[in-house]
């Protein structure tokens, strides 16, 4: 291959190093009005009245809107349509949007927000998992179907649990807690809307132009063809810009009312309230192993602190339970999950979505089992590794799997087995799994998840795709793929992306799906285009029959330069345009809820973290990280390394310091100074290894890299702390206080898992044959299931 597998600078590197890239807040259309949003000062309150009359009289104020102007509810998941752009009945967290102003200047808009009188009836807030599981003092946060302040309850049993427990020679139970944290993108969310001639255009720093498009259509009651959503150059997401947000809908409404462009850029404090970050999760895990340390049964329970609204929460809850089986072979598995509403900023998807918490619990739990039965933790995990090309007890299909090789690479490089045992120094090991895109769209449908169009003419190659580059380099992946197939350089490919008017749909940058899905769509479109070019060249070269002898690459197609080939093809066929699309096959099993967890391929990671722990201060210093990631195939190894290093960095922040904490109903530290995140001074060296397993379904064999490498770091770090001091910290983050407390009692962590009114009967699922790898129509026919699930 000519360009696949080779490092190339990103196609947008130039604009980014010169300051020329236009991010959402850099856009300044003539006559733009500035929007400010009035937010609730109370964590839980009923709104009795809203009086905007004084605000409207302030000179420079052009429009004031409240929830009465935008009453239709929305939400990212069809099952959680529980948000309003502006709330007029009830507020559910400090920062919940209540009213908005468009004015000629930002300061006038802010003063007008202050002039809005809102009368609240303050209600008792619910601020923790345990409080949410008790009868509410005043009233429930939402009128959900489940009792108390429970948002959603899940209960599944896969395989024969009784037989699993009966076979176990050793059973262990543990309780873990993973604190919530936030994405903290460098760029605050920003959106500008313009309404001209009955058509609305929104520029936004979003990860998902298509889902914003849908939410706008719903709430504004406009047909989708009259709305255009454009993703501006993106200043960082990590999952935090994956929901449609109030400010996006509000500026659209204000632009419609005023006839002028309206911009809203959140302050850093507001970004903390927009949140949708990591759920705090309390977990209970019970596992049985046989005499050889092989898992016979596992029961995993999770309770998620969801915050004030649904967001992706139902999916997050499933994700705390579904992927355990994709790393380890678990013949009988019970999962109970519970998401609670609390009066905090809503939680949602952050890098690793719902899986870092159970990964942390599972890895430490297995370490403890290993210690108890006198087995090396690496060996115990190895004995249970899932096999490549197999099907799990909960029907997930595993294809390529580099767990063994990843493990070997980090063990060798770190010298884990030969490490010197010195008090205060330690190493920890952990593995993990992540999805290369969700197998199911957020709203069920049979359409492709990603579509790519290519235009070739005498001017060159242009690729059109709805995918949103959030800095991870998805534009580069598109350019790389098309360049490989058409024989040009990636830098010669022009890109038009993330614009709902001009590009075909891609579902967005979430779920580690873009390289896999947009990549596959690009391969298909590019191969069709290549065929046209080769055919035109063959005619000129008078080659007949087998056209494979016509070589494509290094700027040439057969005897011609690519430019000449483009002209030959345009002359022969007329306008040259091809399209490709990708839809993952049906994988999920024949049961309700099987849509969360399936992915066309899973990535695997292994890590060793070395730490120094100061016994007097409790300060944990990471000294070195070794990480191996099964990427399938690295389309651009430089970008993959960037994803791996960025994941390790973000994981270390979570492991050691980042916390979304509340006090008296308020966020404890909604600022970048007090919400601690690692700086240049805290980053240890990282040695990363890319393991290539050539996945049969990935584009050129590629799998995801953006999220998976984050996952093994937290448990490996805690295991390293145990290795150093012999104490367990069964919580994330590992703060100095927790280390010191653990030194007193041997362990720091939650004492018990709360009482949850689980359904009496779980959904019982018969496991598939472990070697049944059928997917798609064949699978659907065999099990009587339909494509949209």
């Amino acid at each position: 291959m000519k360009v696949i597998g080779k490092p190339y600078p990103k196609v947008d590197a130039g604009p980014k190093v010169t300051g020329a890239a236009v991010y959402a807040d850099d856009l300044n259309l003539p006559r733009t009005l500035h929007c400010k949003i009035l937010r609730s000062p109370h964590p839980h309150a009923r709104i009795l009245s809203i009086d905007t009359s004084k605000a409207q009289r302030i000179p420079g104020v052009k429009a004031v809107v409240t929830g009465r102007d935008l009453p239709i509810r929305y939400g990212i998941l069809p099952v959680s349509q529980d948000e309003r752009a502006l709330e007029f009945e009830k507020v559910r967290y400090v920062g919940d949007p209540v009213a908005a102003v468009a004015a000629t200047e930002e300061e006038i808009a802010a003063a007008a927000c202050d002039a809005i009188e809102v009368e609240y009836e303050v209600l008792e807030p619910v601020m923790s998992i345990t409080e949410a599981l008790k009868p509410p003092k005043d009233e429930r946060i939402h009128a959900s179907r489940a009792p108390l302040n429970i948002h959603r309850l899940l209960s599944y049993e896969f395989g024969d649990m009784e037989a699993g427990w009966a076979r176990a020679e050793h059973v262990r139970e543990d309780v873990f807690f993973y604190q919530g944290n936030t994405h903290l993108p460098m760029e605050q969310h920003s959106a500008t809307a313009q309404y001209v001639d009955g058509k609305l255009t929104l520029w936004s720093s979003t990860q998902v132009v298509h889902y914003v498009h849908r939410a706008l259509a719903k709430v504004l009651e406009l047909p989708m063809h009259r709305i255009r959503v454009i993703g501006a150059t993106h200043g960082g997401g990590f999952g935090g810009k994956t929901d449609p947000f109030a400010h996006e809908i509000v500026v659209a409404k204000l632009a419609m009312l005023t006839g002028r462009p309206v911009k809203c850029t959140l302050t850093r404090e507001e970004v903390f309230y927009a949140h949708r970050g990591r759920h705090p999760v309390l977990m209970h895990v019970k596992t049985g192993v046989d005499g050889e340390g092989r898992i016979t049964a596992m029961h995993f329970r999770s309770a998620l602190d969801g915050g004030g609204y649904g967001s992706y929460g139902v999916a997050s809850t499933f994700y705390t339970g579904v992927l355990q089986t994709v790393t380890y072979n678990i013949p009988a598995y019970k999962f109970e999950g519970c998401r609670l509403f609390t009066n905090k900023a809503p939680c949602g998807p952050k890098r690793g979505h719902g899986t870092p918490q159970p990964r942390f619990a599972l890895e430490l739990h297995l370490d403890k089992i290993a210690a108890e039965i006198g087995l090396d933790p690496v060996e115990l995990k190895r004995r249970n590794f899932v096999k490549p090309f197999s099907r799990t007890v909960n029907w997930l299909r595993v294809t390529s799997c580099g767990l063994e090789e990843c493990t070997n690479r980090v063990l060798e490089a770190s010298g884990y087995a030969q490490r010197r045992r010195t008090r205060g120094r330690g190493m920890g090991f952990a593995v993990s799994t992540y999805m290369s895109g969700a197998g199911t769209a957020i709203y069920w449908n049979d359409m492709p998840h990603s579509e790519v169009q290519i235009k070739v003419d005498r001017g060159g190659v242009t690729v059109y795709c709805g995918a949103m580059d959030i800095g991870q380099g998805s534009d580069q992946v598109l350019a790389h793929v098309v360049a490989e197939e058409l024989g040009v350089e990636p830098s010669d490919v022009r890109l038009v992306t993330a614009d709902t008017d001009t590009t075909p749909i891609d579902l967005g940058s979430y779920s580690s799906r873009v390289t896999f899905m947009a990549g596959n769509a690009a391969v298909e479109a590019a191969r069709k285009m290549r065929a046209l070019l080769v055919e035109a060249v063959a005619e000129k070269m008078e080659v007949h029959g087998d056209l494979s002898e016509i070589e494509v690459g290094d700027g040439r197609i057969g005897d011609f330069t690519v430019s000449e080939a483009f002209e030959l093809a345009e002359a022969k066929f007329g306008a040259l345009s091809t399209a490709g699309s990708y839809k993952p096959p049906r994988i999920g099993g024949p049961f309700k809820g099987s849509g969360v967890g399936p992915s066309p391929a899973y990535s695997y990671s292994a890590a060793v973290v070395e730490v120094d722990v100061d016994e007097r201060t409790g300060i944990v210093t990471p000294l070195h990280v070794w990480i191996a990631h099964d990427i399938g195939r690295a389309i651009n190894p430089m970008l993959v390394e960037g994803q791996v290093e960025g994941s390790v960095y973000m994981a270390l922040g979570e492991a050691l310091m980042e916390e979304q904490e509340y006090r008296k109903g308020r966020h404890k530290w909604p600022s970048m100074l007090e919400y601690k995140s690692p700086t240049f001074l805290e980053m240890p060296p990282i040695e990363s290894f890319l393991v290539e397993t050539d996945d049969p379904e990935g584009p050129y064999g590629a799998k995801e890299a953006g999220q998976g490498p984050l996952l093994p770091i937290m448990p490996a770090l805690n295991a390293a702390v145990h290795d150093a001091l012999g104490v367990w910290i069964d919580e994330v983050p590992v703060t100095p206080e927790k280390v010191l407390k653990a030194l007193e009692s041997g362990r720091f962590g939650p004492k018990a898992f709360p009482e949850v009114p689980w359904p009496e009967e779980p959904i019982r699922v018969e496991p598939p044959a472990p070697d049944d790898l059928r997917v798609g129509p064949e699978f659907e026919a065999a099990f009587g299931v339909s494509g949209a699930h």
């Binding site: 990103k10 300051g19 004084k54 009368e119 800095g471 960025g646 960095y649």
Partner: protein, 184 residues
């Protein structure tokens, strides 16, 4: 608890409204002359408007970014007489007469500087939002110390946060630039 006790009201509204009118009358506006990227600019601005706002909104130099506007993240870093400074904490009147450099002013024409090239080549810019500030902090370091150690690079850039890269490729880019300069 009776219903009345449980009600709270936005009592500040009227006061705020009056304050705004008052503010508008009193706001001191000044003509300020700024030397930005070697070009003189005269702007009429309220004195409380930050240098960051003036650069982005009055001079349309949107290459300078904002991440917190409280001096916490380093994203708005510019050079004032060659030294890195947070433009969100500076008022234009404080920097009259000083040479201000923004990311738009570091390259000569359309040719990238060695530091910009190294950032692009090594993937030191992912989302790129912190990049302008990083480049300016790093450029100031290299002016002061042409061959910085890794520790010196980390120290000099510690005030600039990045959430994408894990910092390592940025360190590499600064070192590569230094090595290339030494090699010349």
């Amino acid at each position: 608890m009776n219903a009345l006790d449980r009600r709270s009201r936005a009592v500040y509204a009227q006061t705020q409204f009056d304050m705004l009118n008052e503010l508008d009358r009193q706001v001191d506006r000044r003509v300020v002359t700024l030397d930005v990227n070697g070009e003189p600019h005269q702007v009429l601005v309220p004195v409380h408007r930050t240098l960051l706002e003036v650069l982005r909104e009055d001079l349309a130099l949107t290459g300078t970014k904002h991440g917190c506007e409280l001096g916490e993240c380093g994203t708005c870093t510019v050079l004032v007489d060659g030294e890195p400074a947070l433009s969100c904490l500076l008022l234009p009147v404080q920097v009259e007469g000083a040479a201000i450099t923004t990311v738009e002013g570091i390259a000569a024409g359309s040719e990238l500087t060695p530091l910009q090239k190294a950032f692009a080549e090594l993937g030191a810019a992912q989302c790129g939002y912190c990049t302008p500030g990083m480049l300016l902090s790093a450029q100031a370091l290299l002016e002061r110390q042409p061959d910085p150690s890794e520790a010196e690079i980390r120290e000099a850039l510690a005030g600039n946060l990045c959430r994408c890269t894990g910092y390592l490729k940025i360190i590499e880019a600064v070192r590569l630039t230094a090595h290339r300069r030494q090699a010349r």
